[in-house]
């Protein structure tokens, strides 16, 4: 367990360091903005500065986020979250299903079964249509 937690803290540290580096770079660009320094020029100068700031932020944020979602820590945590929400959903659905059954109401499973039966019937009709078409094609009829 201690090994695991030290691995995780290492990952958090890496994540934080990269984020800090990014923000420092972006803030440096922001600080060199004429608007920030009270030397506002024409609009295009400012727009170019904003754009540069955004591009720096975007590039490094993408890198950090991609590293983050690609980390075993993220994968483990998101997996845990999915597992727990699956357990909760199953518990809730089972409870609803049981309640409806006790009240003699048709449940979602009953409706799903009905739909599946209709689909099976359609498959059988398609198979029969196939056989009829085979028989109607001269020289192509097959014995089964």
């Amino acid at each position: 367990m201690s090994n695991e937690s030290s691995d995780h803290s290492e990952q958090y540290k890496k994540f934080y360091e990269t984020w800090e580096k990014t923000m420092t770079e972006a803030m440096d660009i922001w600080r060199s903005n004429p608007l920030f320094n009270g030397e506002a020029h024409g609009g295009s100068d400012n727009a170019a500065h904003y754009k540069k700031f955004y591009e720096t932020w975007e590039k490094s944020s993408s890198e950090i986020m991609e590293k983050w979602v690609n980390s075993p820590l993220f994968a483990a945590n998101i997996g845990k979250a999915v597992e727990k929400s699956s357990e909760l959903k199953k518990y809730f659905d089972d409870a609803v299903e049981k309640t409806l059954k006790n009240m003699r109401f048709p449940t979602k499973s009953d409706v799903d079964r009905l739909h599946a039966s209709i689909n099976n019937l359609e498959e059988k009709i398609n198979d029969l249509t196939d056989k009829i078409e085979d028989l109607n094609q001269p020289g192509k009829a097959t014995k089964k």
């Binding site: 975007e58 986020m65 994968a75 699956s86 799903d112 739909h115 689909n119 498959e123």
Partner: protein, 355 residues
């Protein structure tokens, strides 16, 4: 400070605000209804939610061997026919190929039992039978996209007598490669049994958010900033809206086939390790002997190039080719670069082998 000095920034701010409002309205609040997948076609077969589309040929005598496009089970196949001028289907038709497409439809909760065997040995088999009957051809060519590519390879290995040519488009074959989806789908991180037992099918929201998180900044911020910057470019806006419509039209993946894809491929890599059995029958890629073309997107973040690149080494075909094209997973089918530089070449390759 003169009045002019104050007016200029105010006017600029107003202009920016108007542009911003327009962008938000178009992209998020009230996007206009854009028609996608409009190339003329006829539905020639249906079973459950599946529809088989036959595109109206645009040449007098189309090629005798028809081509069936087999799409993934995630998202809609309209990405292959996004809009006029941005359509793989259109390129293929213009070259004289007789094109069919499988639209799997949106599975309902009642379809959660559909497994890989049903898709390969029932749906694809039925479709091929139908296309052979309509076209009068003894064999068909198959083009499988992403998961559809994996299923196309499996089908060709199991029923090589049906397939004249096989084209894979960003198809996952070897799943033991480094990639975000492989990491998330790993046995250690993802209990697929618990998930499918609870949800029945893999919900579209789950899949959509997973894809968004693969590139969170690009998908949730940069994309919209780029749209804002190009709001006055009509062609850009049209393409953006068409893509957004496709991206947001998500469908569920039937539970059993999702469970099998995660277990058999992501967690156990059965196809490459020669351990995949469908309905008891071993799927051996070496049974594929027909001409094969493997199309790979160099910057694919969903199916890493390494996942597809080894395919041609695993099959017995003598006539085989791999193209690694500089684009992403989706760009391979919608970018103007691939529609001009790749697809005409693919069509020519196919035509040469369809005599």
């Amino acid at each position: 400070m003169s009045l002019n000095n104050i007016n200029t920034p105010i006017r600029e701010a107003e202009k920016t605000m108007n542009k911003f409002t327009k962008a938000i309205e178009l992209a998020i609040i009230d996007p206009p209804d854009v028609q996608i997948g409009t190339t003329p076609h006829e539905v020639v077969f249906t079973e459950n939610k599946l529809r088989l589309l036959h595109y109206s040929p645009v040449v007098k005598d189309p090629e005798a061997v028809p081509l069936i496009l087999i799409f993934a089970l995630i998202n809609r196949p309209s990405i292959l026919d996004l809009k006029p001028g941005r359509s793989v289907v259109e390129v293929l038709l213009n070259k004289g190929i007789d094109v069919y497409l499988i639209d799997w439809g949106a599975p309902g909760d009642e379809d959660n039992h559909l497994d890989l065997n049903h898709y390969v040995n029932r749906y694809i088999k039925q479709v091929i039978k139908k296309v052979k009957r309509i076209s009068g051809s003894e064999k068909v060519s198959i083009l499988g996209y992403c998961m559809g590519g994996t299923m196309s390879a499996i089908y060709t290995a199991l029923h090589p007598e049906d397939v004249k040519n096989l084209i894979l488009l960003t198809a996952g074959i070897d799943y033991k490669v480094e990639g975000t989806l492989s990491l998330w789908g790993d046995k250690e991180n993802f209990d697929v049994d618990k998930f499918i037992d609870a949800f029945g099918n893999a919900p579209p929201e789950f899949l959509q958010s997973g894809f968004l998180f693969l590139k969170p900044v690009q998908n949730m911020i940069s994309k919209y900033v780029n749209f804002y910057e190009n709001i006055d470019n009509e062609a850009f806006v049209d393409n953006f809206l068409a893509m957004e419509k496709w991206l947001n039209d998500n469908i569920a993946v039937p539970g059993e086939v999702f469970r099998e894809f995660i277990k058999y491929f992501y967690q156990e890599n059965r196809l490459v390790e020669n351990k995949l059995r469908i309905n008891g029958e071993l799927v051996e890629l070496k049974n594929i002997k027909c001409p094969a073309m493997n199309l790979i997107a160099e910057h694919d973040h969903l199916v890493p190039p390494d996942s597809s690149i080894g395919f041609n080494d695993l099959i017995s075909s003598k006539d085989k080719e791999t193209i690694v094209f500089p684009s992403g997973h989706i760009g391979l089918s919608v970018s103007s670069k691939s529609l001009k530089g790749l697809w005409p070449e693919v069509a020519d390759w196919l035509i040469k082998r369809s005599k």
